[in-house]
């Protein structure tokens, strides 16, 4: 006998993602899901972002790694509320563990923006919605300019693409135009910002993007 149906496979993650979305909407909080390879510079990007934050943004960060609280420690040193999730063997964060994290994060501090640093991985995190407002891809110039074409799922889904480690550009054969073209084939709308997190060069458009994201929420 053949039983025909159309049942969603990740319905439990999707249900938690909807729960998260409702939680955030109720509290006027925006959430971004930061995705990139291990070592792409996600934590460095967050550290520099914290340095440049205006007073409009009250930031909270959720860190996802297989093991250790090293990234959370780096963020905490900057004085920003942070919650570390260790996934053990999990290659991605799921909406349920993020729910617990965001509840913890929001208990004693007023927050209007949560950034989730997902587990370093260009593949799996793209498949699991966390209830975020937008996905942000982080790609460093040392990873090669073919990664957008090689890992299309993530790049079709993101709302922003950040190219990091621009200070190292001249030591590589990374071609920004190649990346831009490949990205546009997959994604018509999302802006691409190139920047360097150690010097802070190129950060203005990104900071403007964050301010606009939070403001949009305020005016609701």
């Amino acid at each position: 006998m053949k039983i025909k149906m159309r049942e969603r496979v990740l319905s439990s993650n999707d249900a938690w993602a909807r729960e998260n979305k409702a939680f955030l909407t109720e509290r006027n909080i925006r959430m971004l899901n930061l995705i990139g390879s291990p070592g792409a510079g996600k934590t460095c990007l967050l550290e520099k972002t914290i340095d440049l934050l205006g007073e409009r943004i009250a930031l909270g960060i959720i860190e996802g790694d297989l093991a250790t609280a090293k990234d959370a420690d780096r963020i905490r040193k900057k004085g920003v509320p942070v919650y570390q999730i260790n996934t053990g063997s999990g290659c991605h964060l799921n909406a349920r563990s993020v729910h617990k994290a965001m509840r913890e994060l929001c208990t004693d501090t007023p927050i209007n923006l949560i950034v989730v640093e997902n587990v370093g991985n260009l593949v799996c995190p793209a498949e699991f919605d966390l209830g975020e407002d937008a996905k942000v891809a982080v790609l460093s110039v040392t990873e090669g300019d073919d990664k957008v074409e090689k890992y299309p799922l993530l790049f079709t889904k993101v709302s922003v693409l950040l190219i990091t480690k621009m200070a190292l550009l001249r030591h590589t054969n990374f071609n920004l135009t190649t990346v831009r073209k490949a990205f546009r084939k997959l994604n018509r709308m999302a802006p691409l910002f190139s920047m360097d997190s150690l010097s802070g060069r190129g950060f203005s458009p990104w900071m403007e993007y964050l301010n606009a994201a939070v403001q949009r929420e305020d005016s609701k």
């Binding site: 039983i3 793209a126 699991f128 889904k157």
Partner: protein, 114 residues
């Protein structure tokens, strides 16, 4: 290993269907997903086999069907499906301003049972 999360989801779906239809064995599970979903049949089967080693689902085969993407043309509003790797042009008006529908969800499409 996101295959484990997917296998877990598949097992939930099968469990619910089993309560409804009372079958004893599953021969084939057909999964449908978008062209960009990062699922490989081999990896999924491997994880599925490991997860069902000592259950009544042992030996069931998984098959992944990839659907083409659906698009809407921003210029003329035509809706169409396409298999191409990059954004296609609208078959009605040739505009390149097309918007993918982006249904990335993974579904179970059918179960062959006895």
């Amino acid at each position: 290993m996101h295959e484990l999360s997917v296998v877990d989801g598949i097992l939930r779906v099968v469990e619910i269907q089993k309560r409804k239809h009372r079958f004893s064995r599953v021969k084939l599970i057909e999964i449908i997903c978008g062209k960009y979903n990062c699922l490989s049949e081999d990896n999924l089967q491997f994880c599925f086999d490991a997860a069902t080693e000592s259950s009544s689902l042992k030996g069931a085969r998984l098959k992944i069907v990839r659907r083409g993407e659906d698009y809407r043309c921003a210029a003329c509003n035509a809706e169409f499906g396409a298999e191409s790797e990059s954004l296609p042009t609208c078959p009605a008006c040739r505009s390149t301003d097309v918007i993918p529908r982006m249904d990335y969800a993974v579904y179970v499409r059918s179960l062959e049972v006895e």
